[in-house]
Amino acid sequence: MITENLPILLVVIPLLAAPLCVLLRQPTLVWGFATLVSWMVFAISIQLLILVLQDGTISYAIGDWAPPWGIEYRIDPASAFMQLVVAGIGAVSMVFAAKSVPHEIPERRIYLFYTMYLLCLTGLLGIVVTGDAFNLFVFLEISSLSSYVLISLGHDRRALTAAFQYLIMGTLGATFILIGVGLLYMVTGTLNIADLSGRLPEPAPRTSLVAFAFLTVGTSLKLALFPLHLWLPNAYTFAPSMVTAFLAATATKVSVYILLRFFFTVFGVDVAFFDLPVGDILLPLAIVAVFAASTVAIFQENVKRLLAYSSVAQIGYMILGISFATVNGLTAGIVHIFNHALIKGGLFMALGSVFLRLGTTQIDAMAGLGRQMPLTMAAFVAGGLSLVGIPLTSGFISKWYLVTGALEKGWWLVAILVVLGSLLAVIYVWRVIEAAYFRPAPAGAAQVKEAPLAMLAATWVLIGANLYFGIDSTLTVGTASRAAEVLLGLEI
């Protein structure tokens, strides 16, 4: 009974829990409740992944209205993998929030903060599990609107402008997606994603090509593909630490997932990559994203902003893998979604701890921190090495498949650019490391303590997972490659 209804429970539990937070009001109580909900959702997501890996794609008809007439929730290996990422990061973030949120959010707003967080979680999970294009848009809006609020709750007043900037860009993106979905409905008369793919006429009429264009650009805005990334650095820099860690690890990744869905499930690889020159457009953009954003990251003085630009670069790697449109390429892209969620989640959490103690994340202020917060900074070093792609970290696995994908296509230059890009990561990571370990603490700065246990634990869970999946990646790569095969239509 419960097993059958897991797909809907995944979404409904956090959705219903959100208004309950408003009723509870008391900050600690709300935190406890939201944490409980997040971990329940995580447990459900693990169960779902196991079910999908065992029995294949799950289809769930809402209200027993059979698809394609009713709304269908559909969980295939790709969505199973994604919902695990979102739910897992959500659960760990809540542990981190225990100490971080009371420090950064005024007490009277904390219950609103967790309400918004649960709504955001609902939206992101909904996007991943829904099999309905319009429903996907609705969940996208739920997650976007709540994330604008979450970002605007940042302690700095610039958080308001950052949130507003994101609101404008995000709304543009969402509107484009809505137009795209509307056009698809016009052509086919259906909104069910699986149904859509069968009903799109061949060769594609102009309307569906226009829909494709709107969907691509709209999604690219949401996932911050260079040069549509302008909202991201400010949003990540000024948002509360927990929000940055959560959104950096999930929001853009889910948008990458939307792109995968539209490209491969709705239009199919033939239309997207052989009839249309999508690969030829995405590939250069992805490479420019890697180099431009990494170069900008090198010159940042605020480490949070540095990592934000690094995120833009890492998204470049994911899109690069997707642009190959091969099993290895897609595997690299999908596995990097997972790995990068762990890396960036962990790094932003480490920075959150730094912010808690120092009140700033400027590189200069972090001088000498290696001695004062050894565990936090060790986590930062491990995450940084993973960003570079050093063996025994998960970043290495991503890089391995990306280079394999490029070599298999015979694109030597791309393979070289991929590895050169990681050198830029060495430079920006090492700026922080040299400051923390080689420079004495600034004169007059107060001695700070190591971060509280809850924050350290959350950080190290993600960093530890990141190291674990760097040593034994059979689970992640196995799931990702199955997802890639499903998306490419090689396995039903």
């Binding site: 090495l385 792609g389 063996p391 280079v403 050198l423 060495v426 040299e434 034994d472 990646s473 196995g478």
Partner: protein, 505 residues
């Protein structure tokens, strides 16, 4: 292969033991004597374990173990074969001596953060064991990188600006070469051959056109930055900011030998001698190695800083082994394999001496060493023995390996290689013997040299000094004696080295 007597643990333990010891070293950090005891006992047990592995290899066994899959189809795997056993044996044995030396040096020099030092040192040794025992290129690459990053805190140990800059060069060159050249080469190999297992005779034969394979060979040889083939040698002199035990064991033995070991390994087990000798780029790489031998020796001539001079000498000596690999015949392989051991003993002696001079006399430059042999006879005596071994003159170990490389060069009709070896012998003599000469035959200067920087405080430099601490002197005498013993009884090393090529049959 019959490795019946050898269990999974026997193969993994040499790698795991030093890694596990780091926990104990960390826990005992507050009690230096106990901490050093942990290091010493670990190194002793390690040698015992490695010897236990070498024994069956002598008898022809090739113990092998597949640990787990890192990526689908790609495993972490250990295989014990003669070349790896040789490298593991040398590195682990010299770790004992270096540990004894370190205790005297680190305390005599009042170094800070000694616990961190011993922890990183143990990780570095563990990863050197991992490199030595790796059964496929992925495993080797993983430990190769761990070695790079675990030695970074050792290189920058002093924490000064000079150390930080040295560390930048160190990491910059090694990471650039490994990530941008070696990693693509490894992935390319995997893509071409569908396996990365080390197989005698190679795995690449016939998988791609000779031109492509030639390019791959170039990627490997330059990508193995630890082998320090010019122009990717700069990290080695930069690493000399490290405390002397690091320079001695890591930058004369473990790290650099991991580099040339990898070159030998890919030549023999990835390409195979037959393929390697036919590649068009082999000739080019041979000249690159030859040029490195000569240029590095010439640069060494001009270095006044003793450790830098030794570093350039190492660059030059490493390329002997690269040259041997590029000759791609069995005799040269034997010579190259032996040179790993022979050079290790000679060079570690020289570095030990440089450190002893620093601790006892606070001197770092060659020009300050006038007459020092009278005050530190044991140290400078050992230095003389090490120098002779570098030059390759009997009765020292350097002669034996050089001999084999030279015959290998004749066999391949590479007369340029022969000339280079002969010329470099003269150059080695030119930059090492003057040090021995001034130390023993020149009168001591009364005044400290004005350019004596690097912590050599004027008062300390003027004060009369004798020999370095006892443990330091013991260590350097032991390795010097080792160079002579290896000349007199090269049996075990020679047998192992000959088995490298015998296993290919």
């Amino acid at each position: 292969m019959n490795g019946a007597a050898i269990g999974a643990w026997d193969i993994c333990l040499p790698v795991l033991l030093p890694m596990a010891a780091t926990v104990l070293i960390g826990l005992t950090g507050r009690w230096p004597n106990l901490r050093e005891a942990v290091t010493l006992i670990t190194s002793g047990v390690l040698v015992y374990l490695v010897v236990g592995l070498i024994q069956p290899v002598f008898e022809g066994a090739r113990p092998d173990i597949l640990l787990f899959e890192m990526m689908p189809g790609l495993s972490i795997r250990f295989t014990v074969e003669p070349l790896g056993a040789l490298f593991a044996g040398v590195a682990s044995f010299l770790w004992i001596i270096t540990s004894i030396y370190s205790i005297g040096y680190m305390r005599g020099h009042h170094e800070k953060n000694q616990t961190r030092f011993y922890i990183c040192f143990a990780i570095a040794i563990g990863s050197a064991m991992g490199v030595a025992l790796a059964g496929n290129m992925l495993t080797l690459f993983v430990f190769y990188e761990v070695l790079t990053f675990s030695t970074y805190p050792l290189v920058t140990h002093a924490g000064t600006d000079e150390a930080r800059l040295g560390g930048r060069t160190y990491l910059g060159v090694l990471v650039f070469t490994s990530i941008c050249l070696q990693l693509p080469a490894v992935i390319w190999t995997w893509y071409l051959a569908g396996t990365l297992d080390f197989t005698p005779g190679g795995i690449l034969e016939g998988t791609a056109s000779p031109e492509l394979l030639g390019a791959l060979f170039v990627l490997y040889v330059f990508g193995i930055g630890k082998a320090a083939v010019m122009p990717f040698h700069r990290w080695l002199p930069a690493a000399m900011v490290a405390p002397t035990p690091v320079s001695a064991l890591l930058h004369a033995v473990a790290v650099v030998k991991a580099g040339v070991f990898t070159v030998l390994k890919i030549t023999y087990f990835i390409f195979g001698l037959e393929l390697a000798s036919t590649l068009a780029t082999g000739e080019f790489l041979l000249y690159a190695a030859a040029a490195t031998i000569l240029i590095a020796s010439l640069v060494a001539l001009r270095q006044d800083n003793l450790k830098r001079r030794l570093a350039y000498s190492t660059v030059s000596q490493l390329s002997y082994i690269v040259l041997a690999a590029m000759l791609a015949n069995e005799l040269a392989m034997v010579g190259g394999g032996m040179h790993i051991a022979m050079h290790a003993f000679g060079k570690i002696t020289l570095f030990f001496c440089a450190g002893a001079i620093l601790v006892a006399a606070h001197k770092t430059e060659v020009s300050q060493l006038n007459g020092i042999g009278r005050r530190m006879p044991w140290t400078m005596g050992a230095f003389a023995v090490g120098s002779i071994s570098m030059i390759g003159v009997p009765p020292t170990a350097g002669f034996v390996s050089k001999w084999y490389i030279l015959i290998g060069a004749f066999e391949s009709q590479q007369f340029i290689a022969v000339l280079v070896i002969v010329a470099s012998t003269l150059l080695n003599a030119a930059y090492l013997l003057p040090i021995v000469y001034v130390a023993f035959f020149k009168k001591p200067d009364d005044e400290p040299q004005p350019n004596s920087h690097r912590g050599s405080i004027g008062a300390a430099a003027r004060a009369p000094h004798g020999e370095a601490p006892l443990s330091v002197v013991l260590a350097l005498v032991a390795t010097a004696a080792g160079t002579i013993i290896l000349f007199l009884f090269p049996g075990s090393v020679l047998t192992l080295a000959q088995q490298i090529v015998a296993s290919g049959g």
